[in-house]
Structures are given as structure tokens and as C-alpha cells.
């Protein structure tokens, strides 16, 4: 398996990778925006045949009122490649860049309240902690767990 920076050509296989995930309907332009602005934060995982099996899209939160931090917009691993540590590797790569290149103190993300599998992954495997519950975060009215992980101790 390879982890490499995402390119525009990955758009097509990435979308197919997303077919089976309940996609958060993120827009194509989001992806453009991310990959453009912080190309070091978005990665794809490909298998030995060069097919995309997962990806992470991330951005830098530039809100001047808050500490600089990274935000995971989308993480997806193809079902066939689950439980192989792909998500963990993608996340590590992105988090390292957040910490080393952009000096981020922490990284944040949102999980659907009903998505127990994802919560388990973030909390138990990736060591995120639930910070808060954001009411009606998703377009369909579902609540979100706001999670966070410290990248750099003060």
C-alpha cells in the first residue's frame, strides 16, 4: 500500500471510493479547495495495483480568533481494505504535516452521532476525545460529536 499526496487525477477514483460510504455530500469544489490550499494535508492510499483504496481530506482552520489547528474534512477507506490500518496511516500522514509544516496545536473533526463504527475508530484507535456535541450539525438534522486530538503539548 502507498500513501501519497492527492492529485487532481485522483478525483475520479476517489469519488468511486466514496460510492459506498454514506457521503457527507461534500462538494467537488471542497476537494479542489483543500488540495490547492494545503496540498500537504490531503492524501490518498493506493493498493499494489495503483488503485485508490482510501483518502483523507483536510484543511487548516484559519479562524484568527482560535489557535491554529487542522480539521479533517473527510476520511474514507474502501470496505475491502478495512481493518488494515489504512485510516490510521492516512491520518498520521496528514497530522504530521499539520504539526510539522503548519505548526498546529491540535486537529479536530466531526462524526455523526449514529456512526458508532467511526466514533470507535477515532476514539479508540486514533486517540481523539469527544469535546462536545453539536446539535443538528448535519443537513439532515443529525447531531455531531466534535472530536479533538492534541498534536503538540505546550
Amino acid at each position: 500500500m502507498n500513501i501519497r499526496e492527492a492529485t487532481l487525477d485522483d478525483m475520479i477514483p476517489m469519488q468511486n471510493c466514496n460510492l459506498h460510504n454514506l457521503p457527507e455530500n461534500y462538494q467537488m469544489k471542497y476537494y479542489f479547495y483543500h488540495s490547492l490550499t494545503w496540498p500537504q494535508l490531503s492524501y490518498v492510499a493506493e493498493d499494489e495495483k495503483g488503485r485508490i483504496i482510501g483518502y483523507v481530506l483536510a484543511k487548516l482552520e484559519e479562524d484568527p480568533s482560535a489557535e491554529p489547528h487542522g480539521h479533517i474534512t473527510s476520511l474514507s477507506v474502501m470496505r475491502t481494505y478495512r481493518r488494515l490500518g489504512v485510516a490510521e496511516k492516512l491520518m498520521t500522514q496528514s497530522q504530521n504535516a499539520m504539526r510539522d509544516v503548519f505548526n498546529c496545536k491540535y486537529v479536530s473533526l466531526h462524526v455523526r452521532k449514529s456512526n458508532r463504527a467511526a466514533l470507535q475508530l477515532y476514539r479508540d484507535t486514533l486517540k481523539f476525545t469527544v469535546q462536545d456535541i453539536e446539535k443538528k450539525y448535519y443537513a439532515d438534522g443529525e447531531d455531531a460529536y466534535a472530536c479533538r486530538k492534541i498534536l503538540k503539548e505546550e
Binding site: 479542489f32 490547492l36 490500518g85
Partner: protein, 910 residues
């Protein structure tokens, strides 16, 4: 807003109206403002915007042009104009507007930036370069120099590789100067430098020096995954074998033993230096074996797959270059399965290696796995192992050897395994799949095999029942959905297919890559409105590409993300030149034409038809890019035999020839609709159609396979359509020339009787082609039935127009109409034939409608499905209500198609 409070006050209500989408009021308010101040550019621009947003693009553009003449220089007006022009896809005018504005305000950096960006939007690299240099001269920022360098690089990339690339040389010189002054500071600037160096021949040593030099250190290049990878690649190119090997070994040992790119690079450092030498005695091979087994040994309780795959890859390469290594590879594959057989990617991991071993070893592999794993399937892990094993068994051809009875027994076995796995997944959340879903899919694959062999549609019906049932427990399994869509299409049940397709929430780029699953020959089902709406919604992606991607290119300049600019430009062009886009476009033209159900409206529609995009020349065809994804569907069929995706195509895959056919037909019709004289262009169209049909052979819909030549893109009905149109197009040519000669009284004028005879000859040939076999209901109405019926209706719809044109030619162009009386009679005869053909369609459709009425389906088809079925799912008795519901749904879909088809046929009986 402007910087003028009084003006702001005046404009506020306009902005407010626009914001809530009240464009009519916006226009009125603009008019009011313009009444008191006719030269208020911003009000005019806002009015244009209101027109554009309200869907009146032509009015908007006319207004823009008016404003352009007065050369506005204020930013709000320019910004508004830019919005209007951009959403209309017109980028050029803004360049001049911003240039004017900047020249009027040479101190305004913002305007200068807009000028640059307007050029970038139009991909005018040369213009960009000049403006960027001017920006640097006037405002002294380094970033402008990088813009200039980027612009030069973009111009240079089209220079062919063996020619001296002056632009790259110039860009490199500027870059080197900046670097010497210590002004290359960011990773992206370094990337740009590398793009320039590596874009020229044999510069890898210089690129390497740059990466390993000061800038590399300063930008922490080596911490970046991509640049780290690039460095090793360059080391290999420079034949610094030891350095390259050390770098790969370090990554694999210390950072990530699973990094396949690096593993392959490691093998390059092993194999490339000794290429041609005797590998058997090579120290390199010994070293690689030791290293990969060390990597494998280091893996602990949760082993990564990389090291073990590396061992297989290594021995496979040894097998390829010296042979005599099959047993080693086989043993490694078996050992790999023991370790990773419970991971669902195991099949993907090993399938190519297994193929490389040959049939005998592959069978031996399956035998050993079966011996080791038995049939145990009590836990999730065991189920995954069993599914992997079944995949391997199918892929080595074990299932292909079965006769239909044995296949059916296996279908039943898989279905039982599927059901047995359900309790394990009872707590899975709705978004997950059941553990045994692939059993249901493999059962469907077997049923497709049986259908192909026996030609019976019952296996397909059974497959839809089982897949629909499995979908209840795995609502989002797109693999189940894709194969269902295809099976419904084979069954001619378009509403069912599109119902499933619509639940897949296909979006964005998928509209380009996956929409072919639903839009290919979508007109065939007779449901023109629904077909058009599928096509329109897929087409959105091309509009958003046009309007959004250029903005992203601008973002890249703004953020100095140089490494992405070329990517964006390529991406944009890949979508812009998409083959699927053109195929869908031609299908839309067919359907839009068919929507006009009276001859006079159809003629008017053709006269209005824009031909700018109706290209068909060789260069245009070759420049189309095929982005369609045909590999997304699960497939475990043996290598060399057609994939499930291919097997489930209701008809041959569409391509460039098909696109040309449906470009030529409307263009020929358009020429006729104008009653235009025969010219070069018309002759070219007719000749192209003739040439196309000469090389076309119909693809047999049942056995289309990957190996067939691209010339068989057509169905038999499409070839017929082409031939008929060709006959009548030639008739038009003959008649038009005869009338012209007659009118001019030239000595070369043809004897009217001879003209009539020629016309009659062509039309008789067309009549013969128009003859159709009556359709009989056979319980199931497959795709082909609907295709044949719709194609007849479509052909007659064209003929109605063409015949009208032939008649009009005589009645409006001929000075002596009486001379063409006999010709007219021949046309009349032909029209009667067309009417008769539609009459026969109408008779058939009426009979079919009777056959698919719900009670007939219940007592006929449903009874046949259930009576004596060998499918356990059907026999079990617990699914009767579901089976009845689904069967009636398929029947209802056929009924809708027939009802619409009948309307279309009746409307065209002129």
C-alpha cells in the same frame, strides 16, 4: 458595494432584490436608476446580472457588450460584468476590460491582479507572462516573478521533447537567479523549479542537486512524502544505487514497511544494476531475499501486508527472469492466504500473482486452500475466508466448467451461506454491509452465466429478486445496485433500473464516469422525458467544470500552489473533452428532436439547431477522452473471459463511431430542413455517413466481448437507421440537383421520368430496410424488444421530416412543378409505407400492452417463475409476497414504456 454612500443607498434595493432571487424587480429598479442617470454603469451591469440569473442570457450578453464599449473602470461594475460573463462561459471580454481599467489606473494593484487573473481564466499563458512581469516591475513583489515563471513553464510544456525549449531555459534562468538570491523559500516554489528542470531532457542530476542542496534543506523537502519519493527516483536514474538502496531500506525499516512504492524502488536498486547479468549467482538477489525476509520477520501480531507481498513480488520476478521458481511462489501465496485470508482484500492482493503462475498451479493453489479451510463459516473471519476462496475458485475457472444444473446448485449454496451470515450482522448499523453480501452478488454472477448459456430470462428475474432482497439488509451496497441496474436494463425494465440508479446519489465527477450505466441508449426504452432528465442531471458536471475549474486555477495562483496548476488545467481539459459528454450530448439531441412530435415543429427545431458543437472530424474524435469507469463493478471472472460489466451490457458499448452516426443524422436533416442547395458540406456529410456504414458490422448483443473491434459499436437497428437516412439523403441530393438543372433550363437537365425512377429506386430500397419483424410477447420484454420498437419510431420520425422536405423542395423550388409529378407520387408512396410501418408498431404494442397487464403478469409470468422453480429463494415460500411485488413492478415498468411508445408512434402517423 461602492465607496460612495449616496450611490450605495441607491443600489441597496437592487442588491436586496437580487439576493432573494427577485430578478424581475431587480430589472425594474435598475431601469428606474438608469432613467435618472443613463450612464450609471453599475446599474446597467446589475441589470445584465439580473437577466443572466433570470435565465435570459442573450439579453444579458447584449447589455454587457453595450457597457464594454464605454470602457468602464470602476471595480464594482467590472466585478459584476465578470460574474455575468463568467456564468455565460465568456472569458475573453474581461481581459480587455481589465486591461483598459488598469491602464486608466496604473497604480491600482488590485486591477492589475484582475487583469492577470482574467488571462489565467482563458489559459492565455503568454499574456499572463507579460502582465506578471509588468506587475513585478510596478509593485516589486517576488510572487509576481513566480507567476511569470509559471506562465512561461505552461507555454513551454507544449514544446516537443526533442526540440530546444527556449521558454524552459528562460524560466530556469529566472529561477536560478532567484535561488542565488535566496528567494526560493517555499516548498511550492521549489516544486516549480523541479517542474522546470525535469521538463527538460537529462536534468535529473541537477534536480537531485537542488533537492539535496540548500533549498532542499531550507524547505524540509525530504520530509515531504512526494519529494522523498522523487529523490529516490532521481538517485536511481543517476545510478547512485547504494544511496538509493540505503534510502529505501531506511524508509522500509524505520518509517513504513508497507510502503509499496518504496518496495518497488528497492527492487529497482536490486535488479537494474545487474540487468543482463546472471541473476542466479548475483549477490543482489541474496541481499534482497535476506532483506525482505527480515522485514517479514519484524512484523508482529498485526502484521502489515507489505513485507509479505514484497517476498512474493521478488520471487515472481525471479520466476520471470530465470524460471523454475513456480513452487516457491505458490508456497508463498498459500502462506500469504494463511496469514491474510480473513482480510477481504486478500483476493485483490494475490489475483495477479496467481494469474502469472498458469492454470495448473492456480488450481493447485485453490485445492490447497480448500483443503486447509474446509467449509467452516461460523464467524465473520471464517466467512471472509470462505468468500475469498470462492472468489479464487471462480477466477481460476472452476465455476465456468459447471453445467446449468450444477451452477444452479451453487446459486442455492451461496444463497444459503448468505442467509447464514445474516445473524452475525444483525447489529450492524444501517450504513454497513452484511458480511455475506458478496455471496448474493456471486449468486447473481452465476445466474448471469446461466442466462448467457441458456438465453432464458428467468435466471435474471431470479437474480433481481435475490439482489433486491439483499438490498433490504444492506441499503447502501452500491455493488448490489450496479449489477441490479444492469440486470433490469437487460430485462427492459427502465423504471426499475433508474429507480435503483437514483438511490446511488451519483454526484460530481461520477456523472462523467458512471452515468453511462444509465444513459447509454437510454432513448431505447421509449420514455423520452425520463431519459432526458437523467441526461440533463448528469450533464451538470460539465457546466460546473466550465464555471468552477477556472476559478480553482486562479486560487492556485493566489496561494502560489504551483504544483497544482498543471493538474487543474489537465483536469479541466479531461472533462471538457470527455467522450461521455459528447455521447450524452448526441443522445440528448435525439431525444430533443423526438420531443417535437409534429413535423412542422420538428422542422423548426432542426432549423434552430446549433451545429458549432456537432463536430465529427477525425481530429475531434481522436481528441475525446474516455473517462468512463468500467472497472468499478465486482468481477471474479477468469482472466481472458468477458467481465461481468461486459456481460451485462444490454448492447455494445458506445464510442466514437456511434457518436459520429448521431452527429451526421441531425446535420443531414438540418441541411434538408433548410431546403439548402447541395454544397460541399452536404456532400461531405453524406459521404461520411456512407463511409461509416461501410465499415460497420452489428455487434451481436448477446456475445459482446472485450476483444471485438470498435467498429461494432452499432446495433443492427442503428445500422438500418443509418442506411435508410443515407438513402433518403441521396434522394434529396438527386432531386435538388434535378430541380436546379430544370429551373436553369440547362442542356444537362435530366429527363423528369429518369429523376422519378431514381427517386423511386432509392425510396424502394429504404422501404425494404424499413420492413420489420412483428414482436411477439415471450413472457419477458427484454431490452432488445424496446430498442427495436423505439428505433422504428425514431426512424419514421426522421423520415416524416425528410419526406416533408422532399415535397417542399418540389413545391417551393421547382419552377415547373408538373415535371416532378411522378417523383411526388413516389414520395407519397413512401410516406404511405412509413405510416404502415408505424401501424404495425402500434398493433404490436397494443398486443404487448395486453400481455403485461397486472393480472396477466400474475397468472402468466409470475406463475412461470414460481412453478417448479429450482431456485431455493423462490421455492422457500417465505418470499412470495416480495417476488410478486417485484414481478409486478417490472411489469409496470414495461407497461409505462409501452404506453409512451404507443403515444409516440400514434403522434407520428402522418
Amino acid at each position: 458595494m461602492t465607496s460612495n454612500p449616496e450611490l450605495d443607498k441607491k443600489l441597496r434595493p437592487i442588491y436586496d432584490a437580487m439576493e432573494v432571487g427577485n430578478y424581475r424587480e431587480g430589472i425594474q429598479l435598475c431601469n428606474k436608476a438608469l432613467k435618472s442617470q443613463p450612464d450609471l454603469h453599475i446599474a446597467k451591469a446589475l441589470k445584465a446580472l439580473a437577466f443572466e440569473r433570470g435565465g435570459k442570457t442573450n439579453e444579458a450578453l447584449a447589455l454587457c457588450e453595450e457597457i464594454q464599449w464605454s470602457k468602464p473602470t470602476d471595480e464594482p461594475t467590472l466585478r459584476t460584468l465578470s460574474l455575468v460573463l463568467r456564468s455565460a462561459g465568456k472569458y475573453e471580454p474581461m481581459i480587455k476590460l481589465y486591461e483598459n481599467a488598469y491602464k486608466a489606473h496604473p497604480k491600482n494593484e488590485n486591477l492589475a491582479n484582475h487583469w492577470f487573473m482574467s488571462l489565467a481564466r482563458s489559459l492565455d499563458f503568454k499574456g499572463q507572462q507579460q502582465v506578471a512581469l509588468q506587475l513585478h516591475k510596478n509593485f516589486k513583489k517576488n510572487s509576481y516573478l513566480f507567476w511569470a515563471i509559471m506562465s512561461m513553464t505552461l507555454q513551454g510544456q507544449n514544446v516537443s521533447a526533442n526540440q530546444p525549449n527556449v521558454l524552459y531555459q528562460l524560466a530556469e534562468r529566472m529561477m536560478a537567479k532567484l535561488n542565488n538570491e535566496g528567494k526560493v523559500e517555499t516548498l511550492e516554489e521549489l516544486q516549480l523549479y523541479l517542474i522546470i528542470l525535469l521538463g527538460q531532457q537529462n536534468r535529473h542530476v541537477d534536480a537531485l542537486a537542488l533537492l539535496e542542496g540548500d533549498v532542499g534543506v531550507k524547505t524540509k523537502a525530504i520530509e515531504n512524502v512526494e519529494l522523498r519519493h522523487l529523490r529516490i527516483q532521481l538517485l536511481i536514474q543517476a545510478e547512485r544505487w547504494q544511496d538509493a538502496r540505503d534510502a529505501t531500506v531506511q524508509i522500509l525499516k524505520e518509517i513504513n514497511s508497507d510502503d509499496w512504492r518504496t518496495i518497488l524502488q528497492y527492487f529497482d536498486t536490486i535488479f537494474l544494476p545487474v540487468a543482463g547479468a546472471d541473476l542466479k549467482t548475483s549477490d543482489n538477489l541474496t541481499e534482497a531475499r535476506a532483506f525482505t525476509s527480515e522485514l517479514a520477520k519484524n512484523e508482529g501480531k498485526n502484521p502489515k501486508r507489505g513485507p509479505f507481498l514484497a517476498q512474493i513480488e521478488l520471487e515472481k520476478r525471479v520466476q520471470e527472469s530465470i524460471g523454475d521458481n513456480k513452487d516457491t511462489v505458490l508456497a508463498l501465496l498459500v502462506a500469504y492466504f494463511e496469514k491474510f485470508g480473513s482480510k477481504s482484500c486478500c483476493f485483490e492482493d494475490l489475483s495477479t500473482y496467481l494469474e502469472g503462475l498458469g492454470q495448473e498451479s492456480a488450481l493447485e493453489f485453490c485445492r490447497r486452500l480448500r483443503e486447509a479451510s474446509g467449509e467452516k463459516a461460523d464467524t465473520v473471519k471464517e466467512i471472509t475466508i470462505q468468500i475469498n476462496l470462492a472468489r479464487f475458485e471462480r477466477s481460476v475457472g472452476l465455476q465456468a466448467k459447471l453445467n446449468p444444473t450444477e451452477s444452479m446448485a451453487l446459486v442455492n449454496k451461496f444463497w444459503k451461506l448468505y442467509e447464514d451470515a445474516l445473524p452475525l450482522g444483525k447489529d450492524l448499523s444501517e450504513t454497513e454491509r452484511q458480511y455475506g453480501d458478496d455471496y448474493a452478488i456471486m449468486a447473481a454472477h452465476l445466474l448471469i452465466d446461466i442466462h448467457k448459456e441458456t438465453k432464458s430470462y428467468f435466471p435474471l428475474l431470479n437474480a433481481t429478486f435475490m439482489l433486491e432482497h439483499a438490498l433490504n439488509a444492506s441499503k447502501h451496497n452500491y455493488q448490489i445496485k450496479l449489477v441490479l441496474v444492469r440486470i433490469y436494463e437487460l430485462l427492459g425494465a427502465f423504471s426499475c433500473a433508474s429507480g435503483i440508479y437514483n438511490t446511488m446519489s451519483i454526484k460530481h465527477i461520477q456523472h462523467d464516469t458512471l452515468s453511462h450505466f444509465i444513459t447509454d441508449r437510454v432513448s431505447s426504452y421509449g420514455m423520452f422525458t425520463e431519459a432526458l432528465s437523467q441526461l440533463y442531471s448528469a450533464h451538470e458536471i460539465y457546466h460546473s467544470n466550465e464555471s468552477e475549474t477556472p476559478e480553482m486555477i486562479l486560487q492556485a495562483y493566489k496561494y502560489s500552489t504551483f504544483s497544482k496548476i498543471q493538474e487543474f488545467i489537465e483536469f479541466q481539459s479531461r472533462l471538457e473533452n470527455s467522450l461521455q459528454k459528447m455521447i450524452a450530448d448526441r443522445e440528448m439531441i435525439r431525444l430533443e428532436f423526438l420531443r417535437e412530435d409534429s413535423v412542422s415543429r420538428a422542422v423548426a427545431w432542426l432549423q434552430e439547431l446549433q451545429i458549432d458543437n456537432l463536430k465529427y472530424d477525425e481530429a475531434f474524435c481522436q481528441a475525446r477522452v474516455d473517462n468512463r469507469d468500467t472497472s468499478v463493478m465486482l468481477n471474479w471472472n477468469p482472466k481472458g473471459s468477458p467481465s461481468v460489466e461486459t456481460l451485462t451490457r444490454p448492447s455494445a458499448q458506445l464510442g466514437r463511431h456511434w457518436m459520429v452516426l448521431f452527429t451526421l443524422v441531425p446535420r443531414i436533416l438540418k441541411h434538408m430542413a433548410h431546403l439548402a442547395a447541395i454544397d460541399d458540406q452536404y456532400e461531405k456529410l453524406v459521404a461520411a455517413l456512407e463511409a461509416l456504414l461501410l465499415t460497420a458490422t452489428p455487434a451481436s448483443t448477446a456475445t459482446s466481448s472485450d476483444s471485438e473491434p470498435t467498429h461494432s459499436e452499432f446495433t443492427a437497428e442503428e445500422i438500418k437507421l443509418g442506411k435508410i437516412v443515407l438513402k433518403v439523403a441521396t434522394t434529396f441530393q438527386v432531386l435538388s440537383l434535378a430541380i436546379a438543372a430544370q429551373n436553369s433550363g440547362s442542356p444537362s437537365k435530366v429527363d423528369p421520368a429518369k429523376t422519378a425512377a431514381t427517386v423511386k429506386e432509392h425510396l424502394t430500397a429504404a422501404t425494404a430496410l424499413l420492413k420489420r419483424e412483428p414482436v411477439k410477447s415471450t413472457g419477458v420484454l427484454p431490452w432488445g424488444t424496446f430498442h427495436a420498437l423505439t428505433m422504428t419510431v425514431e426512424t419514421v420520425a426522421y423520415l416524416n421530416v425528410m419526406n416533408q422536405c422532399l415535397q417542399n423542395l418540389i413545391s417551393t423550388k421547382a419552377h415547373k412543378k408538373a415535371a416532378f409529378k411522378a417523383t411526388n407520387a413516389a414520395i407519397q408512396d413512401f410516406m404511405a409505407q412509413c405510416r404502415q410501418t408505424l401501424q404495425s408498431v402500434q398493433t404490436d404494442v397494443t398486443a404487448l400492452r395486453n400481455a403485461v397487464k397486472p393480472d396477466r403478469i400474475k397468472n402468466g409470468l409470475l406463475y412461470e417463475i414460481c412453478d417448479g422453480s429450482s431456485v431455493d429463494y423462490v421455492r422457500s415460500g417465505t418470499h412470495q409476497a416480495e417476488i410478486e411485488e417485484k414481478t409486478l413492478k417490472i411489469g409496470a415498468s414495461w407497461m409505462s414504456s409501452l404506453v409512451y411508445l404507443q403515444q409516440e408512434a400514434v403522434a407520428r402517423m402522418v
